[in-house]
């Protein structure tokens, strides 16, 4: 186990290094730069701006400087927000996205696994049809449709919640619900599929033959194997959900990190692009490792070594 984790950690570090290097050079070769704007700046001003941010050095030098500061945990200054560093921006926004993500994830898991399980154990009944329709609808209708519909109903017509913002506890309800439903849909389908496969296996029959209650059979025996596809799905899904959603954050005006992924690329905010990519890559790698460990625990057939 320890050997497995160490080797995976080293592999991840190598992959992270490759991601950083590729991103560093790729953003530099995109047309336009951080100071390209409608009103062109004069060559003198551009030179001074580039000198301020060290962009006047040779590219390989900038790259080595960046790696040097990164080794000290310094992600550099933001180009778009001269007043703020990338560390500060990420530090401010990740907790917001994580809060949005964790609440949504809780909704997604309760709703998704609950509906998926109900659909599997009541296969081909109206419950199954309702749950499956929910799954299909949730997958097909994008969040930018569900979001404004919920806003229209609950914020404008009923006036129960604010239409946007992230100030009050009640401001969490609509965005978390929209994002939660979006993730609950595939989870319910994966749960149903996984459970159906497991429910016909011998060890379930054995459990029943031993007199275990149906509730126990499902929760203790069937779900452990039936949730394996969900767990593999959850690795990248959690990384995505924790690092924010551009659409949800825009519709509900949430100050999370999701919008920075997109906006930093549009703004050619080189350091912020790198910061967000590093964050995302590191999370994906960490969560994939966790998923592998979880799968080994859930499925005795999987061995880590």
């Amino acid at each position: 186990m320890f050997r497995f984790i160490t080797s995976r950690f080293l592999q991840s570090l190598l992959a992270l290094y490759v991601v950083i290097t590729a991103t560093f050079f790729m953003v530099r070769f995109v047309p336009g730069g951080p100071f390209t704007a409608e009103k062109a700046v004069t060559p003198e001003i551009l030179r001074n701006l580039e000198a301020h941010y060290g962009l006047n050095k040779p590219l390989y030098r900038q790259y080595l400087d960046y790696l040097g500061s990164l080794a000290h945990g310094d992600l550099g200054p933001s180009f778009k927000y001269p007043n703020r560093t990338v560390n500060e921006i990420i530090g401010d926004k990740v907790p917001v996205s994580a809060e949005l993500g964790l609440l949504s994830l809780a909704i997604a898991l309760v709703l998704g696994i609950g509906l998926g399980t109900l659909a599997a154990i009541r296969r081909n009944t109206w419950i199954d049809y309702v749950a499956s329709s929910f799954g299909m609808t949730g997958i097909s209708i994008p969040t930018f449709v569900v979001g404004p519909l919920l806003v229209l109903a609950f914020a404008i017509h009923l006036g129960w919640f604010n239409a946007s913002g992230w100030y009050l506890p009640s401001d969490r309800v609509l965005p978390c619900l929209v994002l939660g439903i979006a993730y609950a849909a595939p989870i319910s389908r994966l749960t149903r599929g996984g459970l159906l496969e497991v429910l016909h296996q011998d060890f379930i029959r054995t459990a029943r033959a031993k007199g275990a209650s149906e509730f126990r059979v499902i929760t203790r025996h069937a779900l452990r194997g039936g949730l394996l596809p969900v767990v593999s799905y959850l690795g990248p899904a959690i990384a995505g959900i924790l690092t924010g959603s551009f659409v949800i954050e825009t519709i509900f005006q949430i100050p999370g990190i999701g919008r920075e992924f997109v906006n930093s690329a549009f703004n050619r905010d080189y350091t912020l692009v790198l910061g967000t990519v590093i964050l995302y890559a590191a999370l994906i790698m960490a969560l994939n490792l966790l998923v592998d460990i979880a799968q080994a625990w859930m499925n005795p057939k999987v061995r880590l070594e």
């Binding site: 003198e44 001003i45 001269p82 006036g159 604010n162 825009t250 100050p255």
Partner: protein, 545 residues
């Protein structure tokens, strides 16, 4: 086989369901931010996004300008309606008979938000900072009228005392110009780069010419405007509270302004409708039309000094032929396009300098005339568009696709030519323009100060914003002649001649004059958007409609 949930699980499910029902039933329509704001004189303003900075010498984007007028005040203010200069920190001012020396007399009761008095030395320090090459401010060109300013900002002159600013005493600031500039006061009153900054605060946190020292964070901030920065939650809200030290605080009614950073116009509109915002910035095109029809009292439309036009790359044949450019200009119906796409925001434009420029009558040569356009095409060797190459019409992804398509369609119908549309993400679009790798491009320009030269100077042969490859020595000469004219009325007439040259040569094809469109709650009084879109929060108050 049938599965049954055990009784415990069933009752758990029922309990959850009951709790959810109670929670939902417990929700009721709450008092909105607007209701609460009306009571406490707190204005909720929907800003177009997160400001990049609140340093008046560094800001460069629209969201920044919406806030900066609340936090700082320059020597002069612009009248909200006419844009005429009004007293700011300077109570009075004199102009020398030769028009080259401006003397500003500062008021004695002008104070910084920490209580320090504002002196002429503060302005000298601020102008030196704004012009410092290392600060790399992008708006130093707004000092170009001042003697020695260009040389100092480009690093050719190191001694700031050689620049045309002096402070004979703490209440007097003298500005010497390099040449007569009739619109000088217009520049001073409309631009943040002319605002003062607090010397002790800047120096406590860094060098005079250092960017990003954090002096504009709420814990460090010292300003001199009617409001002072209290809170800055990035991408969420900036709170500015009434400044007790402001010289005219007695006439400031609002207790606070909340600048909500809301990028999406749709989200702003929904927030306005649900009572979270008093004032929005912009309205989505489709909704603006609906408001215009059904709720026009909520929709405020102000003509602004801004024109949308097509930039033509005259180096790409056959666009090097003036007849072709003129024909393209004659061949689409601006009024019809404006009314179809966004009647709230667009008005048909037949000149580059927009209507509403104080004292100036734009030069209008042409109206639409498809038959004349076809004749010009035939004369240039492309009868009914035959043999005309496929050109590309570029625009930003943020530009209205309907507008680009309408022009494309009009040219196809009226001239028989096909142009392809290239929509590029903003910076890529501007890069292709800077590199002049385009044929035709949708562009827009808003004046930096209320004078036609803010538009006409753009197309000088060596102008930094002239992407047309059109360099006309005669045009530059006409501009120089107008600039040296000391009689203001005659100067404007000469500028009209300059514009006529531009319109006849048509390196840029006017499309629409733009309006500022926003939603304003009926409880907001005295809201005024001036034609340069610099909001004035001083006079605003909230109360029953």
């Amino acid at each position: 086989m049938r599965f049954a949930l055990p009784p415990a699980a069933t009752s758990w499910c029922l309990a959850t369901l009951a709790c959810m029902t109670l929670a939902v039933a417990g929700c009721s329509r709450h008092a909105t931010a607007v209701d609460e704001g009306n009571r406490t004189q707190t204005l909720h303003f929907g800003n177009v996004g997160e400001p990049s900075e609140l340093d008046p010498h560094i800001i460069n984007a629209a969201p920044d300008y919406q806030i900066i007028t609340a936090l700082f005040e320059g020597l002069l203010n612009a009248d909200p309606a006419t844009m005429a200069p009004r007293p700011g920190v300077a109570e009075t001012w004199d102009v020398s008979p030769d028009g080259l020396t401006y003397t500003f007399h500062l008021r004695t009761n002008a104070k910084w938000s920490n209580g320090d008095p504002i002196t002429a030395d503060d302005f000298l320090y601020s102008f030196r900072r704004a012009l410092s090459p290392a600060l790399a401010s992008q708006y130093t060109f707004l000092f170009h009228a001042v003697r020695g300013a260009d040389e100092f900002s480009s690093g050719k002159l190191a001694d700031f005392s050689q620049v045309g600013f002096s402070a004979p005493d703490p209440r007097t600031l003298v500005v010497r110009l390099a040449r007569v500039t009739p619109y000088f006061l217009g520049i001073v009153s409309a631009n943040a780069i002319w605002y003062p900054v607090h010397r002790a605060t800047i120096e406590r946190l860094g060098r005079i010419d250092q960017r990003g020292t954090g002096w504009t964070r709420p814990e460090n901030f010292v300003g001199n405007g009617p409001f002072v920065l209290k809170e800055w939650r990035p991408n969420q809200v900036i709170v500015a509270e009434k400044s007790p030290t402001y010289w005219d605080a007695a006439h400031v009614s609002l207790h606070a302004v909340y600048f909500h950073a809301i990028d999406s116009p749709d989200t702003q509109e929904v927030a306005f409708r649900s009572g979270q915002l008093h004032v929005t910035t912009g309205v989505p095109a489709a909704k603006a039309t609906a408001y215009l029809k059904d709720h026009s009292a909520l929709l405020l439309r102000t003509p602004i000094l801004s024109t949308t036009f097509i930039t033509v790359n005259v180096a790409h044949p056959p666009l090097n032929d003036q007849r072709i450019r003129l024909a393209l200009a004659l061949a689409f119906d601006r009024a019809q396009i404006a009314s179809r796409i966004n009647p709230a925001r667009m008005a048909p434009a037949y000149s580059i300098v927009p209507e509403g420029m104080p004292g100036y009558q734009p030069y209008v040569r042409m109206k639409e005339d498809p038959a004349a356009a076809r004749a010009l095409f035939a004369e240039a060797g492309f009868p009914a568009g035959k043999g005309f190459p496929t050109l590309e019409l570029s625009c930003e992804t943020g530009a209205s696709l309907e507008l680009v398509q309408a022009i494309q369609e009009a040219w196809r119908t009226n001239l028989g030519i096909h142009v392809s549309i290239a929509r590029r993400e903003s910076r890529t679009h501007w890069e292709t323009l800077h590199l002049k790798q385009y044929d035709l491009a949708i562009s827009a320009w808003s004046a930096d100060y209320p004078d036609p030269s803010s538009f006409l100077e753009l197309w000088r042969g060596n102008g930094g914003w002239n992407f047309t490859n059109w360099a006309d020595p005669h045009y530059d000469e006409l501009l120089d002649t107008a600039a040296s004219e000391t009689d203001p009325a005659m100067r404007l007439k000469r500028l009209q001649v300059v514009e006529s040259r531009l319109t006849n040569e048509m390196p840029v094809i006017p499309v629409s004059y733009d309006r500022d469109v926003r939603l304003v709650q009926p409880s907001v009084h005295n809201w005024a958007t001036n034609p340069l879109q610099r909001p004035d929060y001083k006079a605003v108050w909230l109360g029953a409609p």
